[in-house]
């Protein structure tokens, strides 16, 4: 009988070994898979209530932080102390609706989920230390605040960035929203807020600065001019565009008129200074032509996603087909190209893209990768990521850029953007007044750069005040330029020191 009793023991050992093997499968081999299972509310809840790092502005303002909520079912809540001011940048962090903005782009770093944060040292296998990291942005609260104040209760956007590094300093759009509404623990309140924000016709959750496209109007003439100079069809002195009040494109009967029916013409600098439609329409449609236009605008950020570290930026568009060539230099859609060359028709750009255009011109033709992130620092002080300036595109040569800058400075000195003239500061700009819909209302634009004379400008900007049916026509020079001036003054005031 003893032999069989021993076998009973062996049988039970086999049984318990099976349990061990299965446990190993569940707890080690399949653990990650189970953790990511959509049914697993455990990991969703945990990621929602676990500590997350702080999001801070370049000048030290806390933009998002986790606060403990002892009276709630969840241990922590995400708080956005600046409310609507940075909502389109930080985004929200909601149990119901996930994350947006920086909260979304850098979720893993904030939550301590990247491989580098999770397994930094052997002891991490056993000790649950705080693995979260803090995110510091390049955006400045002072610039953001002045952008909000200057734009006021008008729909629009203000984008400010450093042309030398691509560091975004302000990214404000009105209307905005309070992301705290969506990180509340009261699910009903969150749902109601979500519903209300989505139902609002003004679309406050839309980050118009980088997710909405607008006809860039005359500000696009900077691109047309740069492409023309870079391709050699225009120089500082040649051609001299004819004095005209309108321009009729080839194979078309619809003349493109100048603003207010004025007569203008002259050299490149002269026609940009007064934003001469007839000259630029001709430059685009006849001198540059479709192929060169289409192939050159990509480097300025058209028809390509900007490599910005914010989620899902809208792609700025420039038409890619102007029909067949009817006679040499004349295309089926030459009329459309003429309009596109002055930023009308099917051209549509995000304010961020237009700021990048100004930045590329300011930085000697070097478009730097735009970024909102400056650095990510782990709880123990280790710098996990520091964003180094990175060249993205070279749309034009330094010589071309210098000529365009000369023209843009002339716009400020004696053109449509005199409101931007600041003593002791080199400012270049281009205004735009883009017709919307039936032409009654217009989007008012200004793009440009500013900095210490003789140095590479340290600020590039784009401001748009959107068409408002009640207000009627508004020009970039009258409406947008003063806003840009207020913002530029603050942005130039106290530049944060460049690291390294």
């Amino acid at each position: 009988m003893n032999g069989r009793i021993t076998k009973v023991g062996l049988g039970l050992i086999v049984c318990f070994s099976l349990l061990f093997l299965q446990l190993t499968r569940i707890q080690v081999l399949q653990a990650d898979e189970l953790d990511e299972n959509p049914e697993n509310l455990r990991s969703i809840d945990r990621s929602y209530e676990q500590g997350r790092g702080i999001v801070a502005s370049a000048d030290g303002a806390v933009l998002a932080r986790s606060v403990e909520t002892p009276d709630s079912t969840f241990a922590r809540r995400r708080e956005f102390p600046e409310g609507e001011l940075f909502a389109h940048v930080t985004g929200y962090y909601s149990f119901e609706y996930g994350a947006e903005g920086i909260e979304r782009t850098f979720n893993d770093e904030l939550a301590g989920l990247t491989e580098a944060q999770r397994y930094d040292r052997v002891s991490d296998l056993f000790v649950d230390r705080d693995r979260t990291a803090d995110v510091t942005l390049t955006l400045r609260k002072d610039v953001q605040e002045v952008a909000r104040a200057a734009l006021g209760q008008r729909k629009g956007s203000v984008v400010v960035l450093d042309p030398r590094t691509g560091a975004i300093q302000a990214l404000w759009s009105y209307p905005s929203y309070d992301p705290n509404l969506l990180s509340d623990h009261d699910t009903d309140a969150v749902r109601a807020a979500w519903q209300q924000l989505n139902d609002d016709p003004a679309a406050p959750m839309l980050a118009r600065s980088y997710r909405e496209r607008f006809a860039p109007g005359s500000t696009f003439k900077v691109v047309t001019a740069a492409v023309g100079v870079e391709s050699g069809v225009v120089t500082a002195t040649n051609p001299v565009f004819p004095q005209a009040s309108s321009y009729t494109p080839p194979a078309s009967n619809n003349p493109i008129g100048n603003f207010g029916g004025e007569v203008c013409g002259g050299t490149l600098v002269e026609v940009l200074t007064v934003s001469c439609n007839s000259a630029f329409a001709q430059l685009g449609a006849e001198l540059i032509g479709p192929q060169r236009m289409i192939s050159s605008v990509g480097a300025f950020g058209f028809n390509t996603a900007l490599p910005v570290d914010l989620p899902v930026p809208a792609v700025s568009v420039f038409p890619t087909d102007f029909g067949a060539e009817i006679t040499p230099g004349v295309f089926e859609d030459s009329a459309r190209l003429a309009q596109a060359a002055i930023g009308q028709n099917d051209v549509a750009a995000t304010p961020l893209t237009m700021a990048m255009v100004a930045a590329a011109v300011a930085n000697d033709g070097r478009a730097m990768r735009p970024h909102a992130l400056d650095r990510i620092v782990a709880r123990d002080g280790e710098v996990l990521t520091r964003v180094e300036p990175q060249l993205w595109q070279r749309p034009v040569s330094p010589e071309t850029a210098a000529l365009i800058r000369e023209a843009m400075q002339s716009v400020v000195a004696q053109g449509t953007a005199t409101a931007l003239a600041i003593d002791g500061v080199e400012v270049g700009a281009m205004t735009g007044t883009a017709e919307v819909g039936d032409g009654e209302a217009t989007n008012a634009w200004v793009i440009g750069y500013a900095g210490t004379p003789g140095q590479v400008p340290s600020v590039a900007f784009a401001v748009i005040v959107e068409a408002d049916p009640g207000i009627g026509e508004q020009t970039g020079g009258q409406i947008a330029a003063p806003i840009a001036r207020s913002v530029v003054e603050v942005a130039l005031g106290a530049q944060p020191r460049q690291a390294g």
Partner: protein
């Protein structure tokens, strides 16, 4: 021999107490970052219970194996820690039940001075076992809780008589097999390729088995059915050595399982969920799926005591307490727990090997099999090695009936162990006495 064993037992009990107290404090620290206010009374109670058990063994079964009581104490204590972590009210009840269990342990040692005396009452045990199994089916006192009609309610108290029935039936089977094992080992009747013993000898056994199974199936207590069935097969095989019984048993089981699968929706559900719980992850498969998530969360080293989120696991103080352990102590802790049960099984079977009467051997084997298989069935159910059948995790799950029955089971093993050691010591002494004169003559 006895003294060494008792010293070992005392040392291991203290070690167990240390582990339990440590776990209790860590759990409280993990949850509230402060030591529990009731750490003093808890400590006192735990040490008192261990001391009572130890003194009882010292007095009543001094030569018994020294591993049994410390292992049971450790499991009981850890079970308490996890129950207290989930529900303080249940913890108070469990503390009381632990005391009752320990009282049962001592009472068993006092009342049963020779395990072999039980052999005389084998048919009474059969009757008692079946009666206990039938009780929950009796109207008024019988109660259905969570779909299983295995409870009786007397006044304010609820019991699961099935827990005691298992012990009674184990005693019956052991006794019956001792009487009939030689007859059962002989094959006189031929059934196809199988030689079977005289049905007259097999009859009572089959009847007891059939009645128990029917009753348990009727009460939807699949876990107990499985447990009892295994006990039956293992003991018959150990007693007779006929592999044919194992085959027959497996065949009967397969047949029974197929019929149950066809007849009972709840059996079908269990099997479906076992095979693939994911399509019903929100409904019937909820328990299994949540347990898997919990254990996956625990990973290799666990979330830490008091730092997991076991409130998500259903039945986390009873059937699924193992998932809580695996979550908070990880694979490392869960494996340690498996080892504790294996050590208990090993001790029990060693006692069976050392026992010199066949009844003692079979009873010890049966009781150990009950313990080991019960742990296997519920842990296997929780980890999806087997279809989930609700049985308690011995010594750990919340529940008075189960604790009491397991402490009585433990006392029986202690009793058998004491007797076996005492006899072998006596025999060794006899041999020594018998030898010395020869040596004198030789000189």
């Amino acid at each position: 021999m006895g003294r060494v064993r008792r010293t070992t037992e005392l040392g291991l009990l203290l070690l167990g107490a240390l582990i339990v107290i440590g776990a209790y404090s860590l759990t409280a620290l993990g949850r509230t970052a402060s030591l529990p206010a009731n750490i003093g009374p808890f400590l006192g109670m735990l040490l008192a219970l261990f001391a009572i058990g130890h003194l009882a063994v010292r007095k009543l079964a001094p030569q018994a194996d020294g591993l049994l009581l410390p292992l049971a104490g450790l499991l009981n204590g850890l079970g308490y820690v996890f129950i207290a972590r989930m529900d303080t009210e249940l913890a108070a009840a469990q503390a009381t039940w632990s005391a009752v269990g320990m009282a049962g342990f001592v009472a068993t040692l006092v009342l049963i001075r020779r395990a072999r005396n039980l052999e005389h009452y084998r048919y009474s045990f059969a009757a008692l076992g079946i009666l206990l199994l039938l009780l929950p089916s009796v109207p008024v006192i019988g109660q259905e809780i969570n779909g299983a009609r295995i409870w009786i309610r007397v006044g304010p108290m609820s019991f699961q008589p099935g827990e005691a029935a298992k012990l009674a039936l184990a005693a019956f089977i052991a006794g019956y097999l001792v009487e009939k094992r030689e007859l059962l080992a002989l094959s006189t009747k031929r059934l196809g390729p199988l030689y079977l013993p005289d049905p007259r000898h097999l009859g009572p056994l089959l009847a007891a088995w059939g009645v128990s199974l029917l009753v348990m199936v009727n009460q939807k207590d699949l876990g107990s059915s499985l447990l009892f069935f295994t006990l039956f097969i293992v003991l018959v095989w150990v007693a007779t050595g006929r592999a044919a019984y194992l085959l027959l048993g497996v065949g009967l089981f397969a047949g029974g399982a197929t019929i149950a699968y066809q007849l009972f929706g709840h059996v079908r559900d269990r099997v479906t969920i076992w095979l693939d719980p994911w399509p019903v992850a929100k409904e019937a498969g909820y328990q299994i799926v949540e347990a898997a998530f919990a254990m996956a969360d625990g990973g290799l080293t666990g979330t830490g005591l008091g730092l997991g989120d076991p409130s998500r696991i259903p039945a986390n103080t009873t059937d699924f307490i193992f998932a809580v352990v695996a979550e908070e102590l990880g694979l490392v802790g869960a494996t340690a727990l498996l080892m504790a049960y294996l050590l208990l099984v090993g001790s029990g079977l060693r006692i069976a090997l050392q026992a010199d009467s066949n009844f003692d051997k079979l009873l010890a084997t049966g009781l150990t099999t009950l313990l080991g298989v019960q742990a296997f069935v519920i842990i296997g159910g929780v980890t999806r090695v087997l279809p989930l059948t609700g049985v308690t995790l011995p010594f750990m799950s919340f529940g008075g009936s189960s604790l009491l029955a397991n402490y009585v089971l433990l006392a029986l093993l202690v009793r058998i162990s004491d007797e076996a050691t005492a006899r072998s010591t006596a025999r060794a002494a006899e041999v020594a006495v018998g030898e010395s004169p020869t040596m004198v003559v030789g000189s």
